[in-house]
Symmetry: C2
Subunit: 321 residues, 2 copies
Amino acid sequence: MTNRLLSEVIFPGFQNSWLEQNHDGAVLEISEARLAFTADSYVVEPRFFPGGDIGSLAVNGTVNDLAMCGARPKFLSCSFILEEGYAMEELTRVVQSMRAAADRAGVSIVTGDTKVVDRGSGDGLFVNTAGIGVIEHRLKISPQSIQPGDAILLSGDLGRHGITILAEREGLEFESSIESDCAPLWDVVDALLEANIEVRCLRDLTRGGLATVLKEVADDSTFQLRVEEEKIPVSDGVRGACEMLGLDPFFVANEGTMIAIVPGDQVAAALAAMRAIPEAANSVQIGQVEEETNQRVILRSILGTDRVLDRLPGEQLPRIC
Amino acid sequence: MTNRLLSEVIFPGFQNSWLEQNHDGAVLEISEARLAFTADSYVVEPRFFPGGDIGSLAVNGTVNDLAMCGARPKFLSCSFILEEGYAMEELTRVVQSMRAAADRAGVSIVTGDTKVVDRGSGDGLFVNTAGIGVIEHRLKISPQSIQPGDAILLSGDLGRHGITILAEREGLEFESSIESDCAPLWDVVDALLEANIEVRCLRDLTRGGLATVLKEVADDSTFQLRVEEEKIPVSDGVRGACEMLGLDPFFVANEGTMIAIVPGDQVAAALAAMRAIPEAANSVQIGQVEEETNQRVILRSILGTDRVLDRLPGEQLPRIC
C-alpha cells in the first residue's frame, strides 16, 4: 500500500528533481554548502525492545539516512505526537534515550514540537525526526554511480531488528537472545571516506531488508547485482526465528547494518576501514556489480543454484520502525 | 500539559544552546551559511475547513516558523502517518493542497516518509513538516533585541483560524462566514527586510493567540509591552463567535497573522512595506515596548482601564493545528 501511495499519489503530487533522487534523503545546495535533509516518522510497536526503543530508533534511523547520503549528521528535529494519558515517566525514558543516542551519534536535537491527541486517536507515542547533514566530499553517492566490477560490502548480519520486534510482539522466546542492531552508521561511512575509498553507493538495510535494498539499487542503476548466500552472515538465532515465523532473513529489516558499493580494486582497504569501526567489525564482501544491464539481483545459493531476488513480496511488516 | 512536558521533560532532556533560543525554529551556522530549521506535526480536526486544510496548514505553519526566524523558506520535508483505511482520494486532495501551498510560498517539498498504522491507532491523517530556510541578513531577530520605544505592529485581525476550526467542529453557523487566515508570511518579512527595517522581533500568532505570544516575548526580553485594545482589529464575525463560545479573541489562534517589533522611528516605512503585501494589507501599530523591566503585557481597554495579559489560562484548545 505504501508503495502505491508513493508512486501514485505522493511523488506525482510533489514532483521535483530532489524527490526524483529517490534516496533516503535529499541533497541540497545552500550558499555553496552541500547538505542532506531527511525526515521519518517512527511508529514502532512495541516502543521498547531488546537493543533499543522508539527514541534510539528515531535518532539512529534519521542519522543513518543522512549517512547513506554520505553526509555527516549534524542537527535533528524531534516532534512527538502523544495520545492523551501517555505516561510522562515513559516519555522521560524516551527523551533520555534520544539524548543518549544523539550524543553517541554526534548530533544535536535543536528544534521540535509536541502535540497531544485525544485518547483513541493515537497509540501512545509517535516520533518524527528530521535531520540535516553536511556533505564534505565531492563524490556522487548514488546507484547511478555504480560500475561493473564494483564490490558489494555488507557491514554485519541480517535481520536482527525485524526479528526482535516480531518476537516481542508475538511473545516468542528463543534459545539464543536476539537484540536489535539499532545503531548509528556515520562512523562507518566516515571511515570509508577518510580512507579515500571512492564510495559509489550506500544503503542501510531497513524496510524490506537486504533483498529489497539490492533490488532498489539495481533498478536505479542499469546493472545486474550478484550476491552469494554463503558469504551473507545470518545469526543462528535469526535463522531459527525466521524458520519458525515463515520469514526469509533476506527480507527482514535491520536498523544498524548497511551495504557499501565500492570499486573492486579498493575492497581490501574498504573492508579494513569498515572493520575498524565496532558497528561494522564483521564487514564482508558479499558480491559484485556485473556487466549485464538487466537490473536484476541474483542470489547464488549455498547449493550453487541461482535465484532472482525481487522486492519484498506482499505486504510489508507493519510498524517495524 | 504540553507546557509541563516541555519544561520538565523535553527541554531538560535535550538541553543545548539551540533549544535555549526558545524560538519557533533553530538558527544554525553551517559552512558559513546561516540557516533556520524547524519542525511541526499537524493533527488538526477537522482536516478540511473554510480557508484551508491540514495540508496547506502544514506547509504554511512551517513556512511561517522559518519566516519568524527571518529566514527565507526553501525546503520542506513531508511525513504522513496514515490510519489504515484512510481514503486515497482524500490523501490526493491533501497532497495537491500541499503542493499548491508550497508553490505559493516558494518552497520545495524535497524529502519525506509515509507510515501506516492499524485502524484505531491513529486518526485518519497526521502530517509532519520540517523546514530549512536561509538567513540572508545579519540582524538578530529575537525578543532579546527589543528596546524601549520599539513599536509593535500587527499584520491583520485576530482569531480567524481558531474560530473557524471550533465552529466546524461544533457545527456552529454564524451570520457572517468566517474563514481561516491560513497563509504564508515570508513575503511580509521579506518586505520589511527589503525596506531595510531593523526588524527586532517577529512572531506569528499561533497557539495561545496574540496575548500569549506578547507575554512570551515580554518574558524573553526584560521590558513591559503595552497594547491598545481599540487598535487591535477583530472582525465582527470572530467577536460574535467568541461571545457565543465564551472565548477571548486575544487568546484565539491565527495561522497567517503576525506581529513585528521594529524601531519606533521606522513605523511608517515598516507599515508601508507590510501593507504592500496582500496578506498584511491591514497592518497597524497596536502598541509599543516600554522602559519598565517587569516583563508584563498591559492591555489598555477601550474604556481606558489597564489589564495585565498573561499566557493562555487553563488548557489550550486541542487539535487546532
